[in-house]
């Protein structure tokens, strides 16, 4: 579990340097330290993780479809990253608080997002997609890496109160180049804040490969800040679950921050505005298709005789139902009236803005009675 300091040569070799429990073909690989964190995980729980991942993939596909049909302005696909998001998020306690980036559809799913929550922001109805207090998830963050500092500040509050909670932040490999992410690690280490950093290394920051962000495995940086880290196979849901349980236990025990680099792959575009065929080749995509996180868990369960047809059918039906609800919620959204554009800028009256609102209201009223 010591951090690797081997330079990244290529994305394929790079993956072999991570910790795993399930090999790409679904074979169970004994792991001296991770196994203990998932010793309790039985076939029922594995099927639940599988179900989560299948539903997430369906939600993601529906998001892409809704965007292509003009219902969403944008969508940030997470296909390929199901194991990282579900595995880590399912390790959280309800009271933990998450500070995500914009790609964490699976994390908000695991935190109890409602069908409309996946699309409200991307449709352009509201700046934030859901009630942060209800999910205990901060609004999806688009500024790269800014949320990592918020997590550390939140964790500082947890520490002041000696609460048994942990703040968790998700970010991508591109974000590790940002000053904020590095400052977050410094602040977290300085104050021994109970925060877990989850870097989803999906290998591409739009068109920039991870080697442009880092010449060494990203998890190798954390010890330099005084933060222990783990580098796991992000397509192995069991390894992700185990790593997150380790990190959360570490933070909850008052030992300060922990860092996980989940090595995974974004199968789709950065967002629906992106064309990945311009910058990456089919062979790479195909090699990652063979590491599919859902297929991997299915192979393991099937080999164990724990993947009954009823489970597959029920899971598919549940995924279809969630997608249907999501579509209905999206199409049923009612855009707020014009003056709502002024709502909520300030918590208290602001005379400058009130004047503008009044002016605009009077302007709108001037059209009343027109045919």
């Amino acid at each position: 579990m010591s951090p690797q300091t081997t330079p990244i040569a290529d994305t394929a070799q790079d993956l072999e340097l991570s910790e795993r429990i399930l090999a790409p073909d679904g074979t169970r690989v004994p792991h001296a330290r991770l196994d203990a964190f998932v010793a309790d995980v039985d076939a029922v729980q594995l099927r639940a993780l599988h179900r989560d991942m299948v539903i997430l993939r369906r939600i993601d596909a529906e998001g892409v479809a809704l965007q292509r049909q003009g219902q969403l302005g944008l969508w940030a696909p997470c296909q390929g990253q199901e194991a990282t998001q579900i595995g880590t998020a399912r390790a959280l306690d309800p009271q933990d608080y998450v500070f995500p980036s914009y790609r964490e559809t699976g994390v908000i799913y695991a935190r109890g997002a409602q069908p409309g929550d996946y699309v409200r922001m991307w449709r352009g109805e509201e700046g934030a997609a859901y009630d942060p207090a209800a999910l205990r998830v901060a609004p999806l963050q688009i500024i790269i890496g800014a949320q990592t500092l918020h997590a550390v500040g939140y964790a500082l509050g947890i520490r002041h109160e000696s609460a048994p909670e942990v703040a968790v932040t998700y970010f991508g490999d591109g974000a590790t180049s940002q000053g904020d992410v590095n400052e977050a690690m410094i602040f977290a280490a300085s104050y021994q804040a109970p925060v877990v950093f989850v870097c989803q290394n999906n290998h591409w920051a739009i068109s920039e490969p991870v080697a442009v962000q880092s010449q060494y495995p990203i998890a190798g940086r954390a010890p330099g800040f005084g933060i222990p880290s783990l580098r796991v196979d992000g397509n192995d849901v069991l390894a992700c679950l185990a790593a997150m349980r380790w990190a959360l236990a570490h933070a909850r025990a008052g030992k300060g921050p922990a860092y996980i680099e989940a090595v995974t792959y974004r199968m789709g575009p950065h967002t629906t505005a992106d064309d990945p065929t311009r910058y990456r080749d089919d062979a790479e995509l195909e090699s990652w298709r063979r590491r599919d996180p859902i297929a991997r868990l299915e192979a393991y369960l099937r080999a164990s005789g724990e993947l009954p047809d009823e489970h597959l059918a029920e899971t598919q039906a549940a995924a279809d139902a969630v997608a249907k609800e999501m579509r209905a919620a999206c199409l049923g959204m009612v855009t707020r009236p014009p003056l709502a554009v002024f709502d909520g800028v300030y918590a208290e009256p602001h005379t400058g803005l009130e004047r503008q609102r009044d002016e605009y209201a009077a302007y709108l009223a001037s059209f009343e009675g027109e045919a």
Binding site: Y97, F99, E126, G127, A128, D131, P132, A133, A138, P139, I143, A146, T148, L149, H150, A151, V152, G153, Y154, A155, L156, G157, I158, H160, A167, G179, D180, E183, A184, I186, F187, S190, Y191, D343, G344, V345, Y346, A347, E348, H350, T351, G352, L353, R355
Partner: protein
């Protein structure tokens, strides 16, 4: 009433705010044992402990970003940016996060963060230590911007800023940190005028001088000098740069019919052009002449030996007064 320097008044305001609400926490560089480079937080570490007076690593974005997280957790962080020119590394966290989270979440997440900035020039400081960045923040929706000019305002409005559920960028003119004035330490916040109100500092009938921060003192000096020539300047301390209290401003302009706006920040797209545009929209029919700006030049803040040529002084203000009064003035060298 107690006589305090502006710096001591700010310290007293912080102390009172921390006593009033245990959710108030301070973050900044050197604010603990040192008491801040200007000693504003002197003694607060001893009274409130390291959990509430937090010495931070030297990373401004980190300081403000961490404050955002504390606000998520229900705290009221008060951030000290060590010098005005050091706020730029935190600019993204302030304008993209602090200013917008309330709006993005339709009020579900509050950002009651106060960002204190020792501010502006006139003390012969090194590069990056004399900046006037207020227009950047006044231009940003979601922020309130306050600029204080005297100990009484400093004490009261800092407590009001901390108590506000909105984020406040709070400018402290470092040139005035050692200026003394009477402060009512016992006055209740409930009875105080709101921090957004402008104040007529000196009554006059001929010209309204709109200004804020350290320039209030300079404008008052100009008013003294003008009086010798029989001209009565009305000096208005804006105090709040977002929102600007245009009701008070307009009342003064309607009385005098003439406007000079003074600030040491540079001119283009600054507060003065904005204030003049707004005054013109509201009071055009009352104006006897075109309003005039007296500002810093559109140059990077100059080296200390040159700053006296950059900062508005009483002569430049009087020159502008002559212009709006249609008197001979230096810009034409003759009758206008």
């Amino acid at each position: 009433m107690t006589e305090l320097t502006l710096g001591k008044a700010l310290g007293a305001g912080l102390r009172q705010a921390m006593r009033d609400d245990e959710k108030v926490v301070l973050l900044g560089e050197d604010i603990g044992k040192l008491g801040g480079v200007f000693r504003i937080t002197d003694g607060l570490l001893d009274e409130f402990g390291a959990a509430r007076v937090i010495d931070t690593p030297l990373a401004e974005s980190g300081i403000v970003g961490t404050a955002v997280g504390l606000a998520f957790r229900g705290y009221r962080p008060v951030v000290e940016i060590q010098f005005d020119g050091f706020v730029y590394p935190a600019f993204d966290q302030i304008v993209s996060q602090v200013a917008k989270l309330h709006y993005r979440t339709q009020g579900r997440v509050k950002m009651p963060i106060t960002i204190r900035i020792p501010w502006a020039g006139g003390i012969g400081a090194a590069e990056h230590h004399s900046e006037s960045p207020e227009a950047y923040f006044a231009h940003t929706a979601g922020l309130r911007v306050i600029a204080v000019s005297n100990p009484e305002d400093a004490y009261r409005s800092l407590r009001q800023a901390i108590a506000s559920d909105d984020p406040v960028v709070f400018f402290e003119p470092k040139r005035l940190y050692h200026h003394k004035g009477e402060v009512d330490l016992e006055a209740s916040l409930a009875d105080a005028p709101p921090m957004g109100l402008a104040r007529v500092v000196r009554q006059g009938t001929d010209v309204t001088v709109l200004t804020y921060g350290a320039m209030v003192s300079t404008a008052l000096q100009a008013a003294e000098a003008a009086e010798d020539e029989g001209i009565a300047l009305e000096v208005v301390d804006l105090r709040s740069l977002s929102p600007v209290d245009y009701d008070s401003v307009a009342a003064s302009v309607r009385k005098t019919g003439r406007v000079v706006v003074v600030h040491e920040a540079s001119r283009e797209a600054g507060l003065a052009p904005e204030v003049i545009a707004s005054v013109t929209e509201r009071c055009f029919e009352y104006l006897e002449s075109a309003p005039v700006r007296v500002t810093g030049h559109d140059v990077p803040y100059p080296p200390a030996k040159l700053e006296k040529y950059h900062l508005p002084d009483l002569d430049r203000i009087l020159d502008a007064v002559d212009r709006v009064l249609d008197r001979p003035h230096s810009l034409t060298g003759a009758d206008a």
